[in-house]
């Protein structure tokens, strides 16, 4: 049972995924459509990626003169960030050289260092790395020595990270202000499904010849990690951006021999079949990602029953759309809250979850000092 885009007749216009599915629709865009596309794409963090998609299709000229700088400017920033990410990863590698483990970079930094198409136009807030739990303290100490330190967290958040999360609090560099997320697993220990990090580490591969000493997950594990992240992470400000990552990863790997059976088998082994199912369902819904029929058959054991699926569709068809008012309908905010609660529900048992959500709802907002003052 595929999810039809026409099930919601009142569906607000998500121009970003529409043009990503078929760039030719841009030929019929009015100026008002371009206005909306730029706004939605900016909210979704996809301006630079769209720029690159249009460049690939030789369609840059289609962008009206008034709108073009928005795409160019985002692409300028993305190019600079990719250069900076490579340089920063090299700094991290040097800082952690004394540790008895390879440097494994995750998510966006992995796509960039491994020169994958999913790096195209990607913007960064931080660099994610994975360190074996047994070396976590050493890694943190080594990074502090090299100028990164944790700061700006409330004591509650600090405790929450250290006790329950699969990562330590974000570390920011004193001078460069770059942020590293140091993970020791891809999901919290308390999660329903907890893929053993060692299984992932056993299959790492070198990022590329130009980044010696830097490793990334294997192709299947990268995809599964991206899928897991998308459906276990509470907040989805870049939901559609993450889906386009997945779409690019899948299209890139799909040509490899036996890719799909390997992916499904690996998901099964890591207990991530359900996440994979949803990831494929929603990349196909938003981006027309090609998925062979056989894959759906193979995923039948992890396919949710139809009532649950209907509920999930109504949540994720909204929560993964660009985070812009023009993509919202009357249920979008409920859908986002539902995605948030569901992600936490999967991450921790109820006796931990309920106090945590109450704290986040009623106490944190009054302690928040993180937003900048206008200059």
């Amino acid at each position: 049972m595929h999810l039809s885009r026409h099930t919601r007749a009142d569906a607000p216009k998500d121009l970003v995924s529409r043009m990503l599915r078929s760039p030719d629709t841009l030929l019929r865009f009015s100026m008002a459509d371009w206005d909306m596309l730029v706004r939605q794409a900016r909210s979704a963090g996809l301006l630079a990626r769209i720029h690159n998609v249009l460049a690939q299709h030789n369609m840059i000229e289609v962008i009206p003169a008034e709108a073009r700088w928005h795409f160019d400017s985002a692409a300028t920033l993305a190019n600079k960030q990719q250069l900076a990410v490579r340089w920063e990863v090299e700094q991290i590698r040097t800082a952690l050289a004394g540790l008895d483990c390879p440097l494994v970079v995750l998510k966006g930094a992995a796509y960039v260092t491994a020169n994958l198409p999913a790096a195209s136009g990607r913007l960064f807030n931080d660099i994610d790395i994975l360190v074996p739990r047994s070396l976590l303290n050493q890694a943190e100490a080594a990074l502090m020595l090299a100028g990164w330190h944790t700061s700006g967290l409330s004591p509650y958040d600090e405790r929450y990270y250290r006790r329950w999360m699969h990562e330590i609090p974000p570390m920011q560099h004193l001078h460069r202000a770059t942020v590293i997320d140091v993970h020791h697993a891809i999901l919290p220990d308390t999660a329903r499904y907890f893929p053993d990090p060692q299984k992932l580490l056993n299959r790492i591969v070198p990022a590329g010849d130009d980044m010696p000493g830097v490793y990334v997950f294997s192709a299947e594990d990268r995809i599964l990690h991206s899928a897991t992240h998308l459906f276990h992470d509470g907040e989805l400000p870049h939901g559609l951006r993450d889906l386009t990552d997945l779409d690019l990863l899948l299209r890139h790997e799909a040509a490899a021999p036996h890719f799909w059976p390997r992916l499904v088998a690996r998901a099964d082994k890591l207990q991530l079949g359900r996440s994979l199912y949803y990831a494929l369902r929603y990349t196909q819904y938003f981006l027309d990602t090609p998925v062979p029929e056989k894959v759906w058959d193979d995923l039948r054991p992890v396919t949710p029953h139809s009532a649950l699926l209907k509920l999930m569709d109504s949540i994720f068809s909204r929560a993964l759309a660009p985070a812009h008012a023009s993509c919202d309908d009357a249920f979008s905010s409920v859908a986002r809250q539902a995605a948030y609660v569901r992600a936490h529900w999967l991450r921790m048992p109820a006796h931990l979850l309920i106090p945590h959500l109450l704290h986040k709802a009623f106490i944190s907002p009054y302690l928040d000092n993180s937003t900048a003052k206008p200059a």
Partner: protein
């Protein structure tokens, strides 16, 4: 159509409704707000700007200033600046709504317009040459800028020097000139032609008001200018007016550090920056009396223009 051709009730209605479209230099904006001070500030300061055109279906920046939707609005009214639904700043007290609009617009440009090298500096033009005035707060940069544009110099910007990465020319963004504390009175004394709007007190920068840009500067806002000088002003009470040459290398380093987006541009930032430095004269400038400072700038413009003609 210019903003001053709108009746104040039309302006208020549009601001409170779907927003007013406005073009400032190379950027188009839509602004929404139900706050009377915002309507008043726009009517006072943006009269000469274009508000309606065939191109108004598209805007670069969609901003909104309204009270945040939380309970506290009743006991301490506040205003939030929204950039198309996202809130880059903490709310401020409601009576700071107008300065918050100006600060927010500076943020919109400096965070996004990477097709320019954007230097944190005022910039004014005479006889086709632009003088870039970078300086830390308190150096009298805005006062000098206001004095110059009230004396025949064209206002390009009081805060954001936009250098076109392709042509090296400076694009104008002649929005109102921000004046702080004593400089508000200094400028009132300097010229009876200065129109300065209602002052806002107790902001993080002290008392703030804005001076309306000269009509001719707004009319010529689509005309770029060639960089002529980089001049670092320094005001000191009773200082002599003195212009002294300055090292180009040091000036380059300062501009790079004080550009909003130098590092975002990679090697192209270096290329644009060095091309700029190659074609300007660099000076330190100290002054105590505004009219003397203006006279010194006029002499500089006249000499350089003569040089250029020889």
């Amino acid at each position: 159509m210019k903003l001053l051709q709108l009746s104040s009730s039309d302006l208020r209605q549009q601001l409170a409704g779907e927003g007013i479209w406005l073009r400032a230099g190379p950027f188009s904006l839509t602004i929404r707000s139900k706050i009377p001070h915002v309507a008043e500030g726009l009517a006072d300061l943006y009269g000469q700007f274009e508000v309606r055109s065939s191109r108004q279906a598209f805007a670069d920046f969609h901003v909104e200033l309204n009270p945040p939707a939380i309970l506290r609005r009743w006991f301490r009214p506040q205003v939030s600046f929204s950039f198309d639904g996202s809130l880059p700043f903490k709310p401020l007290p409601l009576d700071q709504a107008y300065p918050m609009l100006e600060w927010g617009l500076n943020w919109c440009v400096s965070m996004h317009a990477h097709h320019y090298l954007i230097i944190h500096a005022a910039v004014v033009e005479k006889n086709g040459l632009a003088a870039i005035l970078p300086a830390p707060p308190g150096s009298g940069k805005s006062t000098l800028t206001a004095g110059l544009v009230l004396s025949g110099w064209r206002l390009l910007s009081d805060e954001l020097t936009l250098i076109d990465r392709k042509t090296g020319l400076i694009h104008a963004l002649p929005r109102p000139v921000s004046l702080k504390n004593q400089s508000i009175e200094v400028i009132r004394q300097f010229s009876s032609e200065a129109f300065i709007n209602r002052a806002t007190h107790d902001t993080t920068k002290g008392t703030v008001a804005h001076m309306r840009p000269p009509k001719s500067s707004v009319q010529r806002q689509y005309e770029p200018a060639r960089p002529g000088w980089v001049i670092f002003p320094k005001w000191r009470a009773d200082a002599e007016t003195l212009l002294t040459p300055r090292s180009k290398a040091q000036t380059f380093m300062f501009l790079a550090q004080n550009a909003f987006n130098y590092s975002h541009l990679g090697t192209d930032g270096f290329r644009v920056g060095t091309a700029l430095i190659g074609q300007v004269e660099c000076y330190d400038f100290q002054y105590g009396q505004l009219h003397e400072a203006v006279a010194a700038f006029n002499r500089l413009a006249d000499t350089s223009t003569q040089d250029a003609l020889v």
